[in-house]
């Protein structure tokens, strides 16, 4: 079969890729506003460095590990040499409706944001070198395999074998509820446990320093997420449009759900609650965006917003310092969305009554799909937990995770990056290093002749 290159699809995939890349700086703002002023730059840098590290790894071997032909046909990991350096993708495939490199670009941005998501658990206390090493190891050993399991579809005609969750189990994960959110959320939990809490966690106040950054970050995340979900149709078609509408519907409902919980429980609907509800809804609809109806999306979003609003309190009960609630929002939201597909999957979403899609429990499909969803969700969770634990311990006992307590108290920005996030004083307190305390001849004699001592 000879297909013509579809310029509409190609354009949409490339735009979606850029939208998804924008989510990572958006996440940096979302996270950065939530920490104290003395750690805002480090928080943002942990996201930014992911663009650097994963951007390089993806070209070298990341895409191959995730989307190469399964080694031994086992569906565990792609062949790292198949697309190494992306060299073999320079030749146009006459049968493809879009260039393989467009898909490479799109999926690269998924890998980048997944690593960045984890950083929310370790605010204000982790050495930047340790985090960078973690990004390399975790991307390679945890994300690329998980992406292979979930996103690499088999193509028997071309002799391509993909990942086991997508092809053998048949779990539905449209845009990454398992490989991205459950995976990142689980890794966040492990890092919070291995690295330990910030000094003063639970006793000293650590309130967000800039809610307007958080709101801007949430807005950019939502904007970028339309590329994340609707782009995951990998075509400019009805499925992409459904995913887009669902990304609006679930997110809106989740924001309302979170705010209602806050109003009833705490007395005030907060801006952080609105921003958090938005992200919870986006996370929950990610796996389901192509498999549920808009009404189903409203239900999934509302449930996710309510569940996550309660889940963010768990860290205080169990005493782990998941600083910015990656567990409460991404792990819980990812589980809610992934498992609710088993209830809300709507066969009508195939768009063709003659060829209906998967039916969940509420649409007469029984428990079959729910079981598949559970296998997918818990397999990724278990894999991520064990592998992240090993990586975290390896870093702990080699280069070490924590900055010194003195540095942590005075602020990680200065200690790790030699910068300050804000200089809002009109008074010019600073000086160039070489000019400091360099006194001219005219300055000196006064002290010398009066015999004044320091």
């Amino acid at each position: 079969m000879i297909l013509e290159l579809n310029s509409g699809d190609t354009a949409w995939i490339l735009i979606s890729a850029a939208l998804v890349l924008l989510m990572t700086p958006g996440l940096a703002l979302f996270y950065g506003g939530m920490v104290r002023a003395k750690g805002v730059l480090n928080m943002m840098m942990m996201s930014f460095i992911s663009m650097g590290v994963i951007g390089v790894l993806w070209v070298l071997f990341g895409y191959s590990l995730a989307f190469g032909n399964s080694v031994g046909g086992a569906g565990i990991i792609g062949n790292p040499f198949e697309f190494a350096g992306l060299q073999s993708l320079l030749v146009n495939d006459p049968e493809a409706s879009y260039p393989a490199l467009a898909f490479v670009a799109f999926q690269a941005c998924f890998a980048i944001i997944t690593v960045a998501l984890v950083s929310g658990a370790i605010a204000d206390r982790a050495s930047f070198g340790a985090w960078t090493a973690f990004a390399v190891l975790w991307g390679t050993l945890v994300y690329f395999p998980a992406a292979h399991w979930v996103f690499a579809f088999s193509n028997p005609d071309a002799g391509v074998v993909g990942g086991w969750i997508a092809n053998v189990v048949g779990a539905i994960d449209f845009a990454g509820g398992t490989a991205i959110h459950i995976n990142a959320g689980t890794a966040a939990l492990v890092l919070a446990l291995v690295i330990g809490p910030r000094i003063g966690f639970g006793t000293r106040p650590m309130r967000p320093h800039n809610m307007t950054l958080v709101m801007l970050g949430a807005a950019l995340l939502w904007f970028g997420w339309f590329g994340f979900n609707a782009g995951s149709a990998v075509a400019a078609n009805g499925l992409a449009s459904l995913a887009w509408v669902n990304t609006l519907a679930a997110t809106a409902a989740a924001m309302l759900g979170w705010l209602v919980v806050e109003k009833l429980r705490d007395g005030h609907p907060t801006s952080l609650g609105a921003a958090s509800g938005i992200v919870a809804g986006l996370v929950a609809i990610t796996p389901a965006a192509g498999a549920v109806s808009p009404l189903g999306s409203l239900a999934i979003g509302a449930l996710a917003g309510i569940a996550c609003a309660y889940a963010v309190g768990l860290k205080y009960r169990f005493g782990f310092d998941d600083s910015l609630d990656v567990v409460g929002v991404h792990l819980v939201g990812g589980l809610v969305g992934t498992l609710l597909i088993g209830f809300f999957a709507d066969p009508a979403t195939s768009g063709d009554p003659a060829d209906p899609g998967v039916a969940g429990l509420f649409y007469g499909g029984g428990l079959d799909q729910l079981g598949k969803q559970a296998i997918g969700a818990f397999a990724v969770m278990a894999f991520s937990f064990v592998m992240t634990y090993l990586i975290a311990l390896a870093i702990k006992y080699t280069i070490g995770w924590r900055i010194s307590s003195a540095d942590e108290l005075s602020g990680i920005d200065l200690a790790e990056h030699s910068e300050a996030g804000y200089d809002l004083s009109p008074v010019y307190y600073t000086n160039k290093v070489q000019r400091t305390l360099v006194l001219t001849k005219d300055d000196m004699p006064v002290a010398e002749t009066t015999g004044a001592k320091k």
């Binding site: 106040p205 309130r207 705490d266 963010v312 309190g313 609630d325």
Partner: protein, 112 residues
């Protein structure tokens, strides 16, 4: 000479400033400060966690005056800054030895 220092509610600054100008005061120094007295701090909530904010923002206003003007000026500030709520602040007067105008070097009452 006296230094009249007032700690007032930030939202009352404009009222106090106008009252002082009407009273003939030609200059003042204002700074943002934090503290608490009988009015305790407030509570903020982030993701369900409550934080008490003990030190709340106030405005400190300072005016240098001649000895005989101090009492009257204090009265003007107190009247203008009063809302009747807890947290309206305080005004106090302290003696000042010397005042020098930087530009001209003149000192004493002429420098005020």
């Amino acid at each position: 000479m006296k230094l009249v220092t007032a700690i007032i509610q930030p939202e009352m600054l404009e009222t106090v400033q106008k009252a002082l100008v009407r009273h003939g005061v030609g200059g003042m120094t204002v700074s943002e400060v934090s503290g608490y007295g009988r009015q305790r701090g407030h509570i903020e909530v982030y993701r369900g966690e409550e934080y008490t904010i003990d030190f709340i923002t106030k405005v400190r206003l300072e005016v240098l005056v001649d000895d005989e003007d101090a009492e009257a000026l204090t009265g003007v500030i107190v009247q203008a800054a009063r809302t009747g709520e807890v947290g309206d602040g305080k005004v106090w007067i302290i003696p000042v030895d010397t005042v020098v105008r930087v530009r001209t070097g003149e000192s004493g009452s002429t420098a005020i």
